[in-house]
Amino acid sequence: MHNRKNIVPFLVLALVISSISLLSFYTPKEKPNTSAILFKISEIKDIIVSAEEQIIAFDTYDLNTIHSVNLVLSGTYGNIILNPILENEAPVFKIPNTFTKYAGSVAYCLFQNEKSLQKGVFRLLSDTTNIGSIENYLGPRSIVANERDYTMLVSIPTDSLGNLLPDGTEIELKTQFKNSITKNTERLSSGFAWKRIPAPLQTGRISTGSTLQKVSSKELIADIFPDLAQDFTISVNSNHNYADGNEIITFQTTQIKDKQGNIITDGTLVAFIIQDDLGAYWQTNATTINGFAFAKTLHPQSPSRWKIRATISGIAKSPKIDQVFVSILDSIPVNIQRNRQLVVGPLTSYLGQFVQDGISVSMQIDGKTYTRLTKNGEVTFQLKKEDHPKDKYTITVNTLGLETIKNIRFN
C-alpha cells in the first residue's frame, strides 16, 4: 500500500518530464536565434528636448520575461532606470519628461539580470526654435573713463526648458552710451557670447542688452567714473594781507579735471599744505564739489611769508604759491605808571582801530616772562615790589611780531 501511494506522483512527474523533454526536442531550431537577441529596442536617435515623455519601442521582445529588462539612461544630471510598460499589448519604455527636458549626451543601456544586452548613445538637443530667456551678466559695473579700462558683457541664452543653445547660434549684443548705439553680432561658443566694452572717455552710464531672435535680455548698466585728477592750480582770497590773527584767508583750487576733461568725482579730498617762514608746516583739508575745493584758515598774528601747495594724495598736486602777511603796527607803545603798572598799548591796527581782544603780549623782565592777552587794545602788567625791588631793569615786550626794549627804574 505504502509503495503504491508513493509511486503515483512519481509517475506523473516522469510523464511531465518526458513530455517536456520531448517538446523541447521537437521545438523548432529558431529558438537559439531568438534567445540570442530576445530583447532589442529600436536605436534611439538624437531628439530635441521637450516637456513630453518619449516612447521607446521594442524591436524584439518576449512578453513572459519582459519584467526582467530595464533601460538605464545616463544623462547630464543623473541616471534613471526604466521598467517596460505595456501599451496596446506591446511593451515600451517611457522616458519621463524630467529626463527629456534637459539637453546633453545620454548613454543608454538595455539590461537584463546584470547583463547588458544593448548599448548606445544619443543626444538630447536644445530647442533652438523656442528661445526661453537670455541671461546677461555685466561687470565690472563701475569703470573709469580712460583708454585702458573696460567692462564685459556676457550673454547666456537658453531655450524654453533652460538648456544652453548650440555653438554658432547668432546673438546680437548691444550697448548704448549718450547718443551712440553699438550693435555686434556674436556667435555662441560653449553656450555663451561675450563682448569687451571699452570705457568711453566721458563720464556717464553705459546701457547694455542683447537680443536673440525676438527674445531680449534685461538692461544692465555700468557707470563710467572720471579718471585720475590732473595737476591743478590754486589761488588765495583774503580781505587784506595784515597779520592780524583775525581775518580768514580762503584757498581755492581751479576746477580739477581728469586727462579727458571730465570733472573729478565730488568729495575728492584735497589737502592744502602751508609752510611759514620759520619752516613750520600745517595743513587744512577740503573736499571737492564740481571739481572745486575751498579751504579756510586764520591769518597769522605776526608778519610771515606762507608757501601753500594743494595735493590730492598720491594723484595730483598744484604748484606752490606765496602769501605775504605784513605787520599791523610800526611800534609798541609802553608806559610805566606810578603804581608799578606797565601798560602796553593802546595797540592799534591798520585803520587805527584797536586790535581785537585776545592778542598775546609777552614781557620779559629780570629773566622772567609774563604773558597777557589784550583787552580794548591794551595789556597791563602789575610788577610787584616783592618781585622787583628798587633797581634798574631792562624790559622786553613782544607782540604781533614786534619787539621793544625799554630801560626802567623802580624807586
Binding site: S105, M152, R196
Partner: protein, 503 residues
C-alpha cells in the same frame, strides 16, 4: 549605649559632609557646563580642520582664456567648489536627499537636480557614483571674476545602480562636460551643466612579468615592531642587520607591509615615505628584492573611498616606483577575508579599480593580490600579473593545490605565505615544537623543489607582543601568531633556520 551614640553622631556628621560634598560637586559641574562652548577664540573657526572625503585626480589642461588671467587662489577655489558640487550631486543621488545642493547649484540648475531626484525616489532608484579623474580647461573667466566657463574632458568614474534595494549593475564611464559657474554668495555655483560627449572606456590592462626567475623569500617585520615596520622603533641599523640574516638564508626577496592608516590615509605622511625609502635602500644594499603590500589594515572598500585610496596609492607608488629594489606590488593582503563583512562584489570592485589605477601609475612592476587560500586565488586572475596565495593547511595537499593554479593560468604563481607556528604551552598543549617546524620546512622543500614553487615563508622572527588588530584578543590565537619565526625572541636560531639555509 555611649558607643552607639558616638557612632550615630559620627555617621550623621559623615552623612552631612557627604551630602554637602555631593551638592557642591553638582553645582560645580553645572557651572563648568555653562562655561563651556562659547569660547571667543573659536568664533572664527580658525582651528577647524577640514577632512577631505573626495580627492579625485584633477589636471588643469589650460587656463589660457580671452577674458581675464586666472589667479592661483581663485583657481583653487573654483576647483574646490566644482569638485564639491560633484561630490554633493553624487551623494544626493545615493541618499535621495538634496542636502548641500543649494550651496553648489544655482536656482535653475538646482531645480533640474531636485526634479530628477524626486523621479528616482519615486522609482526607488539609487545611484552610487564617484569620479576618479578630471581634466579641466578654462574656456572663459569674466573681467569681474564672477563667471567661469569650464570644459571637463574625460571625467572618469564608476557608478553602481540599485533599484528597489537590489543591485542592478556597475559601470565605468568616461565623459566630457561643459560647465558654467557663477560666483554667488562666495561660492562658485553651477549654473549650467551639460554632458557633451560619452567615450568608450577600453580599460585594457597590460600584463607585466616579474623581474625574478624563482622567487625565494620571506615575509618581514622587525622583531621588536611586528605589524609596525615603519613605527616608532624604525631603525636602519636593525634593518640592515636583519637583511644580512635573510641574505645568509640564501633568500632573494622580502615582502613588507604598508598600513593604510599608518601611512596617513589619503594624505600620506612624508616621514613614513622616507622610512619606506630607507628600507628599500637597505634591501637594495643587501641585494634583496621587495614586494610591497599596500593597503594593510584597510577594510572599507566603499565607492566613496576610491578617490582617497587612489590618492594614497598615487603618493606612495610615485615616490618609490623607480627604486631598484621594488619587485612587485601586492595590492592587498587577504582581501577575500573581507567578503563576508563588506560584500564580495564591493571588495572585488575596489580591487579591480585599484589594479587599473596602479597599472596606470606604474607600467613596469607587476601587480598581485595576496589571497588567503589557493581557492580564492582565481579571483581577478585576468587582471593581476602574478597570482599569489597563502597556504597554512596540510603540506600534503600543497602540490595539488599549486598545480591546479599553474594549470589554470599562464601567469606566475607565488606561494606568498606559509609556515608553521612552533608554539606549545598553556593554551595549546598539543602544539608543534621547533622540531616539528623544522620537519615541516624539510617536507615543504621536497615539494617546492619538485614543483619549482615561488615562495615567501612566514616569517623571520618570533614576536613578543602581537597587536590585537592582527589576531584578535584571544591568547591562544595571539600566542600562536607569535611563534611562526625562524629566530626566537632571544635571538636563537630555530632548527628550521638551518633547514632553509641548507635547502
Amino acid at each position: 549605649m555611649k558607643n552607639n551614640k558616638t557612632l550615630y553622631r559620627a555617621l550623621l556628621l559623615a552623612g552631612f559632609i557627604l551630602i554637602n560634598a555631593g551638592i557642591l560637586f553638582g553645582i560645580s559641574q553645572v557651572i563648568a557646563y555653562l562655561n563651556t562652548g562659547a569660547d571667543r577664540s573659536k568664533m572664527l573657526h580658525l582651528d577647524l580642520k577640514q577632512e577631505r572625503f573626495y580627492i579625485p585626480d584633477v589636471t588643469w589642461e589650460s587656463e589660457v582664456n580671452p577674458g581675464r588671467p586666472m589667479e592661483e587662489a581663485n583657481r583653487k577655489k573654483i576647483e574646490q567648489d566644482y569638485l564639491d558640487a560633484w561630490h554633493i550631486k553624487n551623494t544626493s543621488f545615493f541618499t535621495g536627499k538634496d542636502a548641500g545642493i543649494t550651496d553648489h547649484f544655482t536656482k535653475n540648475a538646482r531645480e533640474k537636480i531636485v526634479e530628477l531626484l524626486a523621479q528616482n525616489m519615486e522609482d526607488q532608484t539609487y545611484i552610487q557614483a564617484t569620479t576618479l579623474s578630471h581634466h579641466i580647461t578654462l574656456e572663459f573667466y569674466s573681467a569681474d571674476g564672477t563667471i567661469a566657463v569650464l570644459t571637463d574632458r574625460n571625467v572618469a568614474g564608476i557608478e553602481r545602480m540599485f533599484k528597489n534595494d537590489k543591485f542592478l549593475f556597475e559601470r565605468y564611464f568616461k565623459e566630457d562636460y561643459k560647465i558654467i559657474l557663477l560666483l554667488e554668495d562666495g561660492f562658485w555655483k553651477i549654473r549650467h551643466f551639460e554632458k557633451t560627449a560619452i567615450h568608450k572606456d577600453p580599460q585594457k590592462l597590460v600584463t607585466v612579468s616579474p623581474d625574478q626567475k624563482l622567487l625565494e623569500g620571506i615575509n618581514y617585520y622587525p622583531q621588536m615592531s611586528p605589524w609596525d615596520t615603519f613605527g616608532e622603533n624604525f631603525d636602519v641599523s636593525i634593518l640592515s642587520n636583519d637583511f644580512k640574516i635573510i641574505k645568509d638564508l640564501n633568500l632573494n626577496s622580502i615582502r613588507v607591509f604598508v598600513g593604510y592608516d599608518d601611512f596617513g590615509k589619503a594624505i600620506v605622511s612624508e616621514e613614513k615615505l622616507n622610512k619606506l625609502e630607507l628600507l628599500l635602500n637597505e634591501a637594495d644594499k643587501a641585494k634583496l628584492k621587495v614586494i610591497v603590500t599596500l593597503f594593510d589594515f584597510y577594510g572599507d572598500y566603499r565607492l566613496q573611498d576610491y578617490t582617497l585610496t587612489n590618492r594614497h596609492m598615487k603618493t606612495i607608488v610615485n615616490h618609490i616606483k623607480n627604486h631598484p629594489a621594488i619587485l612587485a606590488w601586492d595590492l592587498k593582503n587577504e582581501p577575500n577575508l573581507d567578503f563576508d563583512s563588506r560584500g564580495e562584489r564591493e571588495v572585488l570592485s575596489w580591487l579591480e579599480q585599484s589594479i587599473s589605477y596602479l597599472k596606470h601609475l606604474d607600467q613596469v612592476h607587476p601587480v598581485t593580490i595576496g589571497w588567503s587560500s589557493p581557492e580564492a586565488a582565481m579571483y581577478l586572475v585576468d587582471k593581476v600579473d602574478v597570482i599569489s596565495y597563502h597556504y597554512y593547511q596540510d603540506l600534503k595537499d600543497l602540490s595539488s593545490a599549486h598545480k591546479k593554479l599553474t594549470s589554470a593560468t599562464n601567469k606566475p604563481v607565488v606561494l606568498q605565505e606559509f609556515g608553521m607556528s612552533s608554539y606549545y604551552g598553556m593554551w595549546n598543549l598539543l602544539g608543534n615544537d621547533e622540531e616539528d617546524q623544522a620537519a615541516y620546512y624539510k617536507r615543504f622543500f621536497e615539494t617546492q623543489k619538485r614543483d619549482s614553487i615561488n615562495y615567501l615563508s612566514w616569517t623571520l622572527f618570533d614576536f613578543g607582543e602581537i597587536p590585537s588588530r592582527v589576531a584578535g584578543k584571544l591568547p591562544w590565537r595571539k600566542n600562536k601568531q607569535a611563534f611562526f619565526g625562524l629566530i626566537d625572541i632571544d635571538g636563537e636560531k630555530d632548527d628550521a633556520y638551518l633547514v632553509i639555509k641548507n635547502r
